[in-house]
Symmetry: C2
Subunit: 745 residues, 2 copies
């Protein structure tokens, strides 16, 4: 209570001091900021990361209960919402080299002298990837580099197959879950994923505990569920995993892998890599395990066996509400997950403590008499790590209400020292930039937007800078809003944005704090986080301010915060990209046909090494992009008209119309969804933003068309040119409705 009294005093005095010069929102933001206390966040982080807190662990539940109590204490209406999900845990695991010199690989991480967490290593999960397919296989291994499609193309040119073999792949360059899935699609019997020191170990920085990087014994847990098909509980696609929900059987669930898979450290993986025979791996495939990498195929067999407990486990989502005073049925949502793979200090608790601190600060403001105009909902998700379970089940359970009421879902996850990173619906770019222009970076004392501008311009001046960074530098030099990225997947916004079409933003800081090396390992703990990732919890405070201001501005805005011309421009850029893609695919296929016809691969290949011709690419037809071009044109005109009308007449509109306009923004963003969903994965209903089938976390924009062209599905491409054009037309129609509303006054 003492803390709150002090805060109240501070709040009043701060407000008094600045009230003559500032807008009410700016004054509120100053009061909000004054409540942000890094030391408090650090102490929560220490408590919450003290023991393993994966789904089903006692500490995960304890953290949920602690948060529930805090939310209530801060004056929020809060409860815990439980779901019952399929969440496998290991019963037994074996990974060993057979033959004359057998070796049994260690599947746990050793303790670190002086690190308090070490005593809890035994109660955490061993080496494991959730939703792999139990099995017991013995076969020679094949090394497939990052295990991405281009790697398999290269293997094919080397004349090497993974059929019936155990694939060894390294983490990086694509989502974890794609690696065993692609191995399985190519006929492999099992899959091992290891962390190469070139990617996050001693070849990047000193290894923990001397430095932040992954130690030789560090391994990356994670999920390999096929989230590109649908995230959430594999047994309840599209519906909430309540106690009585209708469930698929485990065998029916298409997102569960069929082959046994384990993750492993490089210190242990070197025993597997040493078994590989056959050709020396291509130069770009060489990592920093100190040996010569071979591709393998006929070396000493590896024995891999995994057996899991496939029972249902409970999820605990904490849901806290601060009711809106003017528009209680317009909701502004804020979420961050709470479950980790082990201690989860950086991932996810570094973001969770900011969310908590925001809720505390809003509670304090509310106690001072302020009320948000719209309803704030704060969400502490469980089960994100195994497959966005908590958020997905909640969205599926409350889909209709959320679709109708949600103005914005604002997400965060791991957070560290450095630069603002933001992704979101592009009509919200200006919202992000305007908030970022008012939050001060503690390292440089300029706004976090200003710091982004500086970095973009410096980076763009480096030789070989890409088009994206050059575009950002132009925006920076011209003082325009900095670009934000498109949302793929990998955190809890997916169900909001991609399943029900709710406008979403994902925020975080990073680029200087070093968390990559302990990602999903035992070493992602309080000691590591406070030494290397966010010393002093300074950027936890910056995230709380950034997210808090954004929540506040949306919750209290009189008029829509969207700038639709930004979205229309971005769609225009995406359409150009897709058209260039079609042309480049066509050129590639034509070139390859000539190479095959002339048998030129034979001339380029070293005849002393195994090689084979690549699979022939399908000839690429001419696509009729007119429907998309017309829709993009309509969108551009309508967006321009809307933005102009709102700017000139918005302020003078009656209060009811203002509220109606914000309500309309919900339907506008939702207009980019379609019931058909994406080809082969109807759960993904957003036709503008999706995670890529072959990128996993990485975004694909205009995905129905783009991926169809990438994957040689010409009929889908044509069908989705039409469907996507319709979605964009619907979006533009909604903007036209808005213009009428504004014009009518």
């Amino acid at each position: 209570m003492r803390r709150l009294s002090t805060l109240a005093a501070l709040l009043l005095s701060t407000t008094a001091l600045i009230s003559h010069a500032e807008s009410p929102t700016a004054a509120l933001e100053r009061s909000f900021d004054a409540a942000i206390d890094p030391a408090e966040m650090g102490s929560w982080l220490k408590t919450m990361s003290a023991e393993p807190n994966h789904v089903g662990s006692p500490h995960d539940k304890a953290n949920a209960e602690m948060e529930l109590a805090l939310f209530k204490q801060w004056g929020w209406d809060a409860h815990i919402e439980v779901f019952d999900v399929l969440y496998p845990t290991p019963i037994s695991e074996t990974l060993e080299v057979t033959g004359a010199h057998p070796y049994k690989l260690k599947l746990t991480e050793p303790a670190v002298p002086g690190d308090e967490s070490s005593k809890f290593f035994k109660s955490g999960l061993p080496a494991y990837v959730a939703y792999q397919g139990d099995g017991d296989v013995t076969a020679p291994a094949v090394y497939v580099n990052y295990g991405m499609p281009a790697d398999y193309d290269q293997l094919e040119r080397m004349g090497i197959s993974v059929k019936g073999k155990i694939v060894i792949t390294r983490y990086g360059k694509g989502w974890r879950g794609l690696k065993p899935k692609l191995a399985q699609d190519h006929g492999a019997a099992g899959c091992i994923i290891y962390s190469d020191p070139r990617d996050d170990g001693y070849a990047v920085d000193e290894a923990y505990p001397n430095g932040p990087a992954r130690p030789a014994e560090g391994l990356q847990r994670g999920s390999v569920v096929d989230m590109t098909l649908y995230p959430g509980d594999p047994l309840t696609p599209g519906i909430g995993a309540t106690k009585d929900a209708k469930r698929l059987s485990r065998e029916q669930a298409p997102t569960i892998l069929k082959i046994p898979t384990l993750p492993i450290s490089w210190g242990e993986a070197q025993h597997l890599l040493a078994t590989l025979d056959g050709p020396v791996a291509p130069r770009a495939w060489m990592g920093n395990v100190p040996l010569t990498y071979h591709v393998g195929g006929n070396g000493t067999p590896i024995h891999l066996a995994v057996k899991s407990d496939w029972s249902l486990k409970p999820l605990y989502n904490v849901v806290a509400t601060l009711k809106g005073s003017e528009f209680p049925d317009q909701w502004v949502l804020r979420g961050n997950h709470r479950d980790g793979w082990v201690f989860g200090a950086t991932d996810p608790l570094s973001g969770q403590i900011s969310l908590m601190e925001e809720a505390k600060a809003f509670g304090a403001l509310a106690k001072q008499g302020w009320k948000p105009k719209r309803t704030l909902v704060y969400l502490s998700w469980d089960g994100e790590e195994p497959g966005l379970l908590g958020s997905t089940e909640w969205v599926e359970q409350h889909a209709d209400e959320l679709r109708e009421k949600t103005v914005l879902y604002l997400n965060s996850d791991s957070n560290s020292r450095g630069f603002l990173r933001a992704e979101g619906n592009h009509s919200l770019r200006h919202l992000v930039a305007s908030v970022a222009s008012d939050v001060i970076d503690p390292e440089t004392n300029v706004s976090v937007e200003e710091r982004l501008r500086g970095r973009a311009q410096v980076d763009a001046a480096e030789p070989g800078a890409g088009d994206g960074i050059k575009e950002a530098a132009h925006a920076a030099a011209e003082g325009r809003d900095m670009p934000i990225g498109a949302m793929g997947s990998g955190s809890d916004y997916s169900a909001f944005l991609q399943h029900i079409g709710v406008a979403s933003i994902d925020l975080g800081y990073g680029g200087e704090g070093e968390s990559g090396g302990v990602y999903h390992s035992d070493y992602d703990d309080f000691a590591h986080h406070s030494r290397f990732v966010d010393p002093g919890f300074t950027y936890a405070a910056v995230l709380a301010k950034t997210a808090g201001h954004m929540m506040l501005r949306v919750a209290d805005a009189d008029l829509p915060v969207n700038h639709y011309a930004d979205f229309a421009d971005q769609v225009g850029t995406y359409l150009d990209e897709v058209k260039r893609l079609a042309k480049s695919k066509r050129d590639t296929a034509e070139t390859q046909a000539k190479l095959l016809q002339g048998n030129l691969y034979r001339l380029a290949d070293d005849p002393t090494k195994p090689s084979a011709r690549p699979t022939a690419l399908k000839p690429v037809p001419q696509f009729d992009f007119h429907p998309l071009e017309e829709a993009a044109e309509h969108l551009k005109k309508s967006a321009q008209a809307y933005d102009t009308a709102l700017a000139s007449k918005g302020a003078s509109l009656p209060a009811a119309t203002k509220g109606e306009l914000t309500k309309l923004t919900i339907a506008t963003e939702e207009a980019m969804t379609a019931d058909a969903g994406l080809p082969g994965r109807p759960w993904f209903r957003n036709l503008v933003y999706a995670p890529g089938r072959f990128t996993g976390y990485g975004a694909k924009t205009l995905p129905g068309v783009r991926e169809a062209i990438e994957e040689e599905r010409w009929d889908d491409a044509t069908a989705y040119i039409g469907l996507t054009a319709q979605a964009l037309q619907r979006y533009a129609d909604k903007l036209d409705e808005g213009v009428s509303l504004i014009t009518k006054g």
Copy 2:
């Protein structure tokens, strides 16, 4: 004698069989090819690489004497020409880590079980780089990656200086000699160059003797003389190093380094890398020594001491002549060096044996009654390794005669399995292509030109293929002659092309044979070469045929073999590049000025790490390129006119005019030289082709202008726009003379 009789019979029968269908030259080439015997070349290679054969070694002299005897036996007029050059050899060397855990580094390479050469390791050179500066220094080390200018730029941004320190740099990305020179220019006290396993060791392929790559104990010797100023004996720039030549003192010689420098293996270098403190090295600087690379600066001091014997040593060039029957004063030259760093099996004897086999085959043809129309001169150079000594001194000694008489200098050096590589004056591109179209690749049974076409098209279809390879693929697809490269330096053509303006070509095969890993080490021996580089000496035979045919076609040609439009086109391309360079330098300087003015580097940098602002770039003026543009235009028109005239009227010209036209090609190519030479390095007189001051071996074209722009010497740029334009005008004038000659008939 038996061998020659058999050959004679074969020659006669082959000639008889094909004489009804083939041109006389084609028939001669078939006879020539029939004399090429891989086994014989292999046996010479075994003999000549049996013992260390560096300058001054008994075996180097023995090889010269063996060759002299063979040339005479084959009917050539041959002699050994001796020069006396400054060639330092080590007296004592020390490299050690000081401090609490001292370690003395091993400076020799260990024997390989089963490799016969091993017993001679003791009589070879230890770790040594010729023309380093003797000294004895103790200082902390700084790691500078490849030690190239961009690496020092990055060090500056990290706020780290090498002043007074010992620089540790890795081999690669630029010529060896630049590394200690740039270290010295930045104030370093000493320099260590090591071979990183990422560049040529176990991260590329299995290490010798299991595979071809550099073993942990393998080290690269070499020269660090400042060849970019002038090659050859440091004491006799511009004149032959005869017994009585006027010599500089060692102290006066500007090409000798001032700081002590040693090369070392990575196995030993890791003890030095372990002493480095300070910031972790940038990610791209990490090699495959199994530790985290730091930049250093204040770690445990290193002690480096080198003392050399700086006496003069004799060079033995073997010079063999087969006199021309029609134009004895038009010479066609063929050279390859004979000295190695230790056994020199691949470098240089793999090319030397082809040269010898060609001489044998020409001798046999001569004994059958054939005589070349022009004089053939075969040259076995000594002292190439320390600094192109043998060829440079010979050219300087005979400059006037060579300038007047030499139609072509054809060079080769190390040779291995794979693809043809050719560089040369661009008027000779068609000569290269026409020869390459008639030599069959033994692995694919198509011509070596055809194989190049296949590879270029396959490589160009790879994602991220560069402009050069795309241009080559276009040429291939359209059936045009394949491009040849511009000549920089690194082998014995330098004095011919760049000092006296003699048209030159450098040829070799490679890309499949694996020699990089033993380059300049004890392990470049017969066992390695015959296992990994050119098993069966198949490509020694292909090189002999390629070079032999080229010699034959030039020696016996009725009319000039040059296609001047090829040269004119290439000059046009170079001029475009230089203009783009000026624009891009200007943009870069303007951008950087904005970044400095806005203090944006501060915003981009991590304030917890040391950093500094970069040195300001000089603003780039607008250059007046008109003189060059006009010259290039004149060149293009004249070249077109010449080629057309020669094609339509050449064959019908009187014999005397034909001879005069070839004579004129000599003066034409020489026209691109100027007495002023390049800025600051007058020995380099060619204003179109030069080795780069900061690339070493790599070519810079239109170097007077290009390098002046690169190095912010604006006055030089303007002056050399004029001088280079004059040279191109002179070249075009010579072509105009040729047109008159042809037109007069």
